[in-house]
Symmetry: C2
Subunit: 306 residues, 2 copies
């Protein structure tokens, strides 16, 4: 089959309710909400929206509720031509939703509703959708579905990237090994890469023995490092006053994959990715300040030089 | 002006997110949500939806967000012919929303987002809407807007009913006196009536000196009592296994007003109201099990005899 998509993203599409309160209520009491904002989120959708806005021909597989079909969220995906045909639509459960509350002391509490996301586990990865793309990115979602998808994609010699993110605690050593053996690129922030090293009992270079050719470790404002057999490439972050760091990691992955799929060298991938994420942190929400390709290139050249 | 509506309800239209969790998270941690249901709520809308379903020609004034205009909620109001023309639509804030979490221990926590509800305070009650109805019911909403509306309605010799409900703590003695002096009927549950008695330093019969001809005290499964100058009418509740008592009080008020506006005697009003609320408690949510007129009459006759 011809490759209709550049990138297939597998992982959550979610709704984020972000609230501020004076203080968290004690049991059997109530508190007024000072501010409430509703954002489009979910690591899978964050990556897909950024990749598609940059210009990749992108498809997504998430498990969502029926209301998603006529939602603003789907409309925004359509606006950047994301292929949503392989979405898993739950008959009974709503789209995954996160409720996050921050108090005056800047403490945070999160409530997560998996909802439709639970239906990933029983679903069968669609081979035709996987076969019609150049690369598959596995974001936070369901370990079993991710494992199955990675095996199919590997069999078809696709580029496979994997970012277990917050789901890392859902993987034991064996499950993790089963996914990363199919990977081309393993993404993680420094906490996550450290945890994976412990789980697999090796250092960052040792991780390549388990499958991935490329390890990308992101360290927030301290930049990112790309590890391959031949080299270790350290790239500074592009500092921008961070209004909200949420989604920065996902957008970095989308940017990195954009340049990787377009055949750029790894250093260039990391610089481009850092430029992308520098836009995301400037506004609250993961998908509120997605840059266009030209904006990313301009800021990248300005910061790193041509 | 001719009376186009039987009943104008003034008060909140809100969205209720009702969740169950194993336990409430500590600061800087997260918890999965076991169940999440989203219900249509808000005391004003609860009364209006029940009254309209029973057959009253009903209008509502609430302050809501722009998304309400194309929402399922508005569509459901339209289905029972509720006039929403005088709704206050906020340009910047969303529809009031409540987030309620219950843990395994049955403890509850509530977060309230006032949102568009704050815009009641600056809004001017629409005289033409008030003049075009037979009765005005003031539900939880904004004390100032309720006071202004009650004064206009009283001037126009409308039936005015008032249910301060959970908002009671927003009224001081003077504010409360200013509203209830314009009332025909004062509704409250036994906690609320007791609190009003304390605030005005009188007993339940003394409340009539402040304005209302009729005091209706509801006591959940222990029934309700109607106090007038001439009589004290005690009516048993119709017991139904309560899945969720939320909204029972609002539906009682709607039922009472339905019969009152239709000229029935007070005992009949209370029986009809009890029958209405017995349906509401049978399902989770305030608007999920609204009975039709015939169902209410049948259960009422069955329980109290004809």
């Amino acid at each position: 089959m011809s490759e209709k998509s550049d990138l297939l993203v597998i992982g959550h599409t979610a709704i984020d309710y972000i609230m501020t309160v004076e203080e968290f209520p004690n049991p059997n009491s109530s508190t007024p909400i000072n501010t409430l904002k509703v954002f489009h989120g979910g690591a899978g959708a964050n990556v897909a929206m950024v990749a598609a806005t940059l210009g990749l021909n992108t498809a997504i597989i998430s498990a969502v509720g029926k209301k998603f079909i006529n939602s603003d969220y789907k409309r925004m995906m359509k606006e950047v031509n994301i292929n949503t045909e392989s979405m898993i639509i739950s008959e009974t459960e709503d789209t995954p939703t996160a409720f996050g509350m921050t108090n005056n002391n800047k403490d945070q509490i999160f409530y997560f509703y998996w909802g439709a996301g639970k239906e990933f586990a029983q679903a069968k990865p669609p081979k035709s959708t996987i076969s019609s793309c150049k690369a598959v990115h596995l974001a936070t979602g369901d370990p079993i579905f991710n494992q199955k998808s990675s095996a199919i994609a590997k069999d078809m010699s696709k580029i496979v990237s994997f970012d277990p993110g917050q789901d890392l605690n859902m993987y034991n050593r064996e499950k993790l090994k089963e996914v990363i053996k199919n990977c081309t690129i393993l993404f993680g922030n420094h906490h996550e890469i450290e945890r994976i090293e412990k789980l697999l009992n090796c250092d960052v270079n040792g991780l390549r023995n388990f499958g991935p050719e490329i390890i990308v470790k992101t360290c927030g404002k301290d930049g990112s490092t790309v590890y391959t057999k031949k080299e270790k490439i350290k790239v500074d972050s592009i500092y921008r006053p961070a209004v909200d760091p949420t989604g920065a990691g996902d957008s970095y992955r989308a940017g990195f994959l954009y340049n990787y799929i377009n055949g750029k060298d790894l250093k260039n991938c990391a610089k481009f990715a850092s430029s992308v994420s520098s836009f995301i942190v400037e506004k609250q929400g993961c998908q509120t300040n997605i840059p266009k390709y030209e904006e990313v290139i301009n800021r990248m050249n300005e910061f790193y030089g041509k």
